[in-house]
Amino acid sequence: MANREERLAAIRRAFPEGSGVVELAGGDMQTLRVDRQALPALARHLKDDPALDFKLLLDVCGVDYPGREERFEVVYHLTSLEHGHRVRLKVPVRENDPVVPSVYGVWRAADWFEREAFDMFGIRFEGHPNLKRILCHPAFQGHPLRKDYDPGQRWLLREGEQEEPAWAKEAQEDEDHFETQVLNLGPSHPATHGTLRTVVRLNGEVITKAETEIGYLHRCFEKMAETHTWNQVIPYTDRLNYCSAMMNGVGYALAVEKMLGVEAPPRAQVIRLILSELSRVMDHIVDVGANLNDVGAMTPFLYMYQGREELYSVLEACCGSRLTMSYVRIGGLSSDTPPDFEDSVRYLLKRIPKLIGDMETLITENRIFRGRTEGVGAISAEDAVDWGWTGPCLRATGVAYDVRKAHPYLGYETYDFKVPVAHAGDTYARYLVRVEEMKQSLRIVEQALERLQPGPIITDNHNVALPPKEDVYTEMESLIWHFKLIMEGMKVPVGESYGYTEAANGELGYYIVSDGGGHPYRIKVRPPCFAIFQAFPHILEGHMVADTVAIMSSLNIIAGELDR
């Protein structure tokens, strides 16, 4: 991992001082301020220079600063899988000319992220092949994440105004002069598991063109976050990837704690880790089960769901909620675990492997399942990285990138576990990776239980966390802390931070900007399945229509996280 100076020197070889690239001091990662004229060449250089090797574009987002002369800022986050280093680019643009060159030609991952920035802020990306709204509906007026947009202002969509790809309206003949057929899958369709829509053109049964439409569950997470206090955002994070709610909260809390400079007590960290790994198992149960269900195998889903119910009961005992837990607080956890927590987790450690074993006996060597999934929906490692994939789907192509190993948090570096990798990159490989990940997660939980010591579960820094209730009743100072926190909320220092964790679907990033007030100034979520799903229509081409179902559920697209 080259250090900051060496990376800057590598950039300065092509972009000397005065060429529109300025390094900003400080920050949680190396940050460059880039003039928009210099952006395309810089992007190419960052990707192709072997010393820099920024092959993975994680995120593109806009930020609105109404007071500034250059009102909008487009922020790019990049990482190198080879060297492990990261960089942030900032491109400021004026309100009356909000145009930035598109980097789609360098990283295809920019495709949907740029469309989202256009939708939310009205920033236009020159050279983007399909720049139109992505999350909001076509009858929407204005750009909702601009600071002057009223959070409650709705626009109604009528049935006739729904989005239709332009190519879907044209009749087309194949080489034998038979008309091809356009088929609409979703958004309410048994195999889309939620609200995803794909329009495909069929030649016989083979898909020749596909386009995906998302945004049917756009619940305005980022705008809502700006109108709530820092701790109030946690329930909203639960509803991003609701199959594994705990991990979203942990990622958010870690990102904010990094800005505050506080750390959760050891017991809270271990509990966070245990519940995160159990959530990973829960998430993979739903994904693998739904995938099997979609290719016609209902039984394993019923087996596995029993395990999920038992996992739920442990979570419910901890915080009172089965699914959307809101258990994390900034600086720790909301309450301590029940006295039988360790016993019930130990029971699960015996119970879940048995259920996984049952399912594997039925499925892993099953000829029908292998026939439906092997070679279906395959993607190469280069393409997957180019599209911005992370998580199990990327590891199924042979790239062993896991945030828990590459940039450990919560003490993952001290646990003994392996990162499962497959090489085919197809639907079957994704199944194998997920099954093995469940087993590895249980290994981590087993080790973590040994380290669970009694102790406080939330930090005693009362700028962040409320003092204990009995102290509030008896001590003047605690009462004042309590009053200030309730009335004014926690204050996070001015600045920005990109916190990232390994969620069930891949790297879950929170880019957080604080202006020092009681509310977040801007929170941008980098949802892993957003990057994964943008490659979906391209994977589909050449496949049979029945394969769409097998491929889609193997990618584990969770609409809450996709559309936010």
């Binding site: 509906h137 969509l157 569950l217 305005c220 769901y305 029993q306």
Partner: protein
């Protein structure tokens, strides 16, 4: 009906007392209890609801629990889930409905054959929940009529089971929106005719 001591030995439909049933005299001969056809149909309808899960968000995951073996909705005769609106009579809207999704929901509701019932599962579907935001429908009753609201974020499977049982009670008492609209229509026709 003759003998007042006759008690139905084989109740075909549940115990409202007004439903029809085959009864046996003490000597073994059969008699029939009479009822209105409407009541008999309602009893059949309430015990075999065919839900269409319009699952959009987190609630759909709890809906899965509600279907699976642990909570098992089939105990209440409503386990046959159909994704085609033409084959189902109970629309369960599980999750947040956005303005982008609303026309789809309305279309699915309109495609369902009558009689049809709607359960709104979760606070998002009921009122928009804590998403008081620019892209979220503030309660699906802006667009379609709702019979039972099940609060919770998400509701537990028990709560949804109770919602289904509540709907069954409403059907047998003629309280659903469909039944009330039908009754009102008949009353106005009778008035016009009489």
């Amino acid at each position: 009906m003759g003998n007042p001591e006759v008690r139905p030995s084989l109740p075909v439909v549940g115990g409202t007392g007004t439903a029809g049933a085959v009864a046996k005299q003490p000597d073994g001969s059969r008699v029939f209890l009479t009822t209105k056809l409407e009541k008999l149909l309602d009893a059949a309808r309430k015990n075999s609801l065919w839900p269409l899960p319009f699952g959009t968000a987190c609630c759909a995951i709890e809906f899965m629990s509600f279907m699976m073996s642990h909570y098992d909705i089939s105990r209440f005769g409503a386990e046959v889930v159909r994704f085609s609106p033409r084959q189902s009579d109970l629309l369960i809207v599980a999750g947040t409905v956005t303005d982008k999704m609303a026309p789809v929901m309305v279309r699915i509701y309109e495609q369902m054959a009558e009689p049809k019932y709607v359960i709104s599962m979760g606070v998002c579907a009921c009122t928009g929940g804590f998403y008081r935001a620019y892209h979220v429908v503030q309660g699906i009753d802006e667009f379609i009529p709702v019979d039972v609201y099940v609060p919770g974020c998400p509701p537990t499977p028990e709560a949804l089971l109770q919602g289904v049982v509540k709907l069954q009670e409403m059907i047998s008492n003629g309280e659903t929106r469909y039944q009330r609209a039908l009754a009102a229509k008949r009353a106005s026709q009778a008035q016009a005719g009489g």
